[in-house]
């Protein structure tokens, strides 16, 4: 049995592994992207928060100075210095609405004006009365490039100039631990991520996630190594560092003298990867196992089906074989040997058995019946029904001796017992051997063809009548309808005429183009047979051969049955009764002369019989004198038959004397010399030795001695 489900299972496992690898890599990628975007977002957020905090702080400072000054008025350098010191900033300027510096903590600036192309030009927006504050990021100073300073401007009410405060980056750096530490501690990065913030110079940690606070005071203690080649502190590159023992995805940025590191332990996103992978692995495995099981089930089912069909096919083939055996065994074996008719039949069963059969059997010495039938059912049922029908037709025919009456009775029987609703067509004929007349009845069967002998064409006529169908009206099929009475019809055969019967397997044979062999073709085939081959066996052979040639290559759909009967001659039997006396014997001798003497000459064939006359006289003398002398018979009958096949004369002596079988007695010794010879017994010996065939029978209290002599 086929087990390709195993191959399928292996293929599925391989597919599963590849798919899992793909899923794993996809999930890994996804987790990495999630980590990256989380870190990216965290740093962006942090940057704006840190900058925003400084801006807010400077804005508050600017506002308080603006409040204190009350308007755009000149500011002394002392007061500016006091303001700077009080507010812990690095620079303060006051500008009027034209951008003129009214006072500054930087002694170089008072009296200068913000130029159109100056870095401070955007601050002029504060003079239009719309904008209240403006902030600039840290940048290198115009006068001292080493100092990076940030400016925030706050407008006086009514657009009356503005106050500008500045703070150095290094200043912020110094303030960083005190103003920023809490931010980092409160900052959330996912669920497990954290920020590290350490002084670039001394590595002192100003921020530490709560859970690690007591364990590390310097960045180096967390495991972070700024010199690691993987580390890129540009805020855009994700790298890995082992922090507090956990491998973390990190991004780092330098900000105000501090190193800010956002770290996310991979567990956060990679854990979900494992969960997803596990779930998908499980689901996929389940699906694939289901597929494999389904495949196996289907395969098993299909194997079962195949086995079932194979078994079914075997059983069917067996059935067909049995049916064919039944069908074939039902056919009669051998053909009747008669001088007056010749019969031949053949049935070629189709692969799918049809229900054809033929039959022939004598009804008595002078009547022989023959039939062809086609049962509708196939297989064993059909074959058994065929047997029933065959037996029934034979029995009724033997009993009633009339084809029509037999079919009428058989039909009634078949209708009464037909559970499978089968039916059959049949053509049944009885040949009267003495007259050549066939009486027949047809139950829905194909019309037979009568082929007239060519030598019966009257002089002057070019040829015999062509073969023709006996188109007399047919009765219905047998077993089809109850209460049918079939009609008896007749067809006369002259010596040499032939009747050809067949089943629809002949006329309905198909060629490769699905064309029917047809009745026309059958008629043409029969017409084309030369007179010399117009014999039952060769007719059947020729028709079968043409059908086979016609349907060459196409499968045989139905049984092909052919039967041909040729009426050869009227029998020539002459019979006369004589007294069992010497006078009677003389009369019998005269009877022989009368039949076969020179005066009786008829034809050249007849002369052959006449040559037997002396021998026949010897037979008559020996057997007749025995009857007259010894049997005690009152009279005796002589049947003389001129036999054509093999040509000869048959003499039958029938007497009512005592039973006596001359064949049962030992022959006298013919080797003895004359003086020792027994006179007697020689007569029977002579007959025995001269006859071609001799037989004795006792029936109806009569001796019946048959002597046959060929010419």
């Amino acid at each position: 049995m086929n087990q390709s489900w195993k191959t399928f299972a292996w293929a599925s496992a391989l597919f599963y592994a590849v798919l899992l690898a793909f899923i794993w890599s996809a999930l890994t990628r996804r987790a990495f992207l999630q980590t990256e975007s989380m870190l990216d977002y965290a740093l962006l957020d942090l940057d704006s928060t840190l900058n925003g905090s400084i801006d807010t702080m400077l804005m508050h400072v600017g506002e308080s100075i603006a409040d204190e000054l009350g308007g755009a008025r000149p500011l002394s350098s002392e007061r500016a210095a006091t303001l700077v010191a009080q507010r812990d900033i690095d620079e303060v300027n006051v500008f009027d609405r034209t951008g003129l510096n009214l006072g500054s903590s930087d002694p170089r600036l008072p009296g200068t004006r913000i130029g159109d192309n100056s870095k401070s030009a955007p601050f002029m927006m504060l003079t239009n009365g719309v904008r209240h504050a403006y902030s600039q990021p840290f940048r290198a100073g115009a006068h001292n490039p080493d100092v990076r300073r940030k400016y925030v401007g706050v407008a006086f009410p009514n657009g009356d100039g503005f106050v500008q405060v500045g703070i150095d980056e290094s200043h912020v750096t110094r303030m960083f631990p005190s103003i920023m530490g809490f931010i980092f501690d409160a900052w959330l990065l996912g669920e497990t991520g954290f920020f590290l913030c350490a002084d670039i110079d001394d590595g002192h940690l100003i921020s530490n996630p709560a859970r690690h606070r007591n364990e590390a005071r310097f960045l180096a203690e967390t495991g972070y190594d700024p010199n690691d080649p993987r580390v890129r502190e540009d805020g855009k590159t994700t790298f890995r560092q082992r922090l507090f023992g956990d491998l973390c995805d990190c991004r780092a940025v330098l900000f105000c003298g501090h190193r800010v590191i956002a770290a996310l332990p991979p567990a956060e996103y990679y854990a979900t990867r494992s969960v997803y992978a596990a779930v998908m692995a499980f689901v996929l495995a389940l699906v694939l196992i289901l597929f494999v099981l389904l495949f196996r089930r289907i395969e098993n089912d299909s194997n079962c089906l195949k086995a079932f069909y194979a078994a079914e096919e075997t059983a069917r083939a067996k059935d067909m074989e049995i049916a064919k055996t039944i069908q074939t065994s039902a056919l009669p074996v051998g053909f009747p040997a008669s001088a007056h008719f010749r019969l031949f039949a053949a049935m070629q069963a189709a692969k799918e058995v049809g229900g054809d059969f033929y039959d022939y059997f004598p009804l008595d010495d002078t009547h022989v019946s023959f039939l062809v039938a086609d049962v509708s059912g196939k297989g064993i049922t059909g074959a058994l029904y065929m047997m029933t029908a065959k037996t029934l037709i034979k029995d009724t025919l033997l009993a009633l001796r009339d084809p029509a009456a037999a079919l009428t009775k058989a039909n009634a029987e078949l209708c009464r017992n037909n559970p499978a609703n089968m039916f059959l067509t049949a053509w049944v004929g009885v040949l009267d051997i003495e007259t050549g007349t066939i009486s027949f009845a047809n139950a829905g069967h194909n019309p037979p063809v009568k082929i007239a002998a060519s030598d019966h064409a009257p002089p002057g006529h070019p040829a015999a009548a062509p073969p023709r169908y006996l188109t007399m009206k047919s009765g219905p099929m047998l077993a089809f309808m109850d209460g049918i009475t079939y009609k008896l019809r007749h067809v006369a055969l002259e010596p040499g005429d032939t009747l050809f019967l067949y089943t629809d397997g002949v006329t309905e044979a198909l060629d490769l183009k699905n064309e029917l062999y047809g009745e026309g073709r059958l008629l043409e085939t029969l017409r084309a047979i030369p007179a010399a081959e117009m014999e039952p066996e060769s007719i059947c052979t020729i028709v079968r051969a043409t059908v086979a040639a016609f349907s060459a290559g196409a499968p045989q759909a139905d049984d092909i049955t052919v039967l041909a009967l040729k009426y050869v001659s009227h029998p020539q039997v002459f019979s006369r009764s004589f007294e069992a006396t010497r006078e009677g014997l003389a009369e019998a001798s005269a009877f022989l002369d009368e039949l076969l003497g020179p005066a009786a000459a008829r034809s050249t064939d007849f002369a052959l019989y006449q040559r037997l006359l002396p021998t026949l006289h010897i037979f008559l003398d020996e057997i007749g004198s025995n009857i007259v002398r010894y049997s005690g018979a009152s009279d005796f009958v002589i049947d003389l038959e001129l036999v054509e096949e093999p040509r000869g004369v048959r003499l039958v002596f029938i007497d009512d004397g005592a039973a006596y079988d001359p064949l049962s007695h030992a022959d006298p010794d013919t080797t003895l010399s004359a003086d020792k010879r027994q006179i007697g017994g020689l007569g029977i010996l002579m007959v025995k030795r001269m006859a071609t065939d001799m037989s004795y029978a006792r029936a109806n209290n009569r001796n019946r001695l048959t002597v046959f002599k060929t010419v």
Partner: protein, 97 residues
């Protein structure tokens, strides 16, 4: 059946014409007066056939000739007669010339 008979110096010549059977053999038997006959010569040229009844007549004559040291000859049997002689073993007994 017709029999032509002549007797000369103890030689009886018989020419049998027709059929020799149950009906006719008594006639032949009647013609065979064998006193003083030393030789019998049958001419069967025109004998159509012979049945066992006729054969018996020939056999009787043969026995008589053998008994008196005489001789019997059969001339010109046709095929059927010859056949009968052969079948019955008479060909070996009779002198067929």
């Amino acid at each position: 059946m017709n029999i032509e008979k002549s007797l000369e110096d103890g030689k009886l010549s018989l020419k049998i014409d027709g059929r020799l059977d149950t009906n006719t053999s008594p006639e032949l038997e009647a013609e065979l007066q064998l006193d003083g006959v030393k030789e019998i010569a049958f001419d069967l040229t025109d004998l159509e056939y012979v049945s066992s009844a006729g054969l018996r007549v020939f056999l009787t004559a043969q026995k008589a000739m053998m008994a008196c040291g005489g001789r019997m000859t059969i001339a010109n049997p046709n095929a059927i007669v010859k056949d009968v002689f052969d079948i019955t073993g008479c060909s070996d007994i009779f002198t067929i010339v």
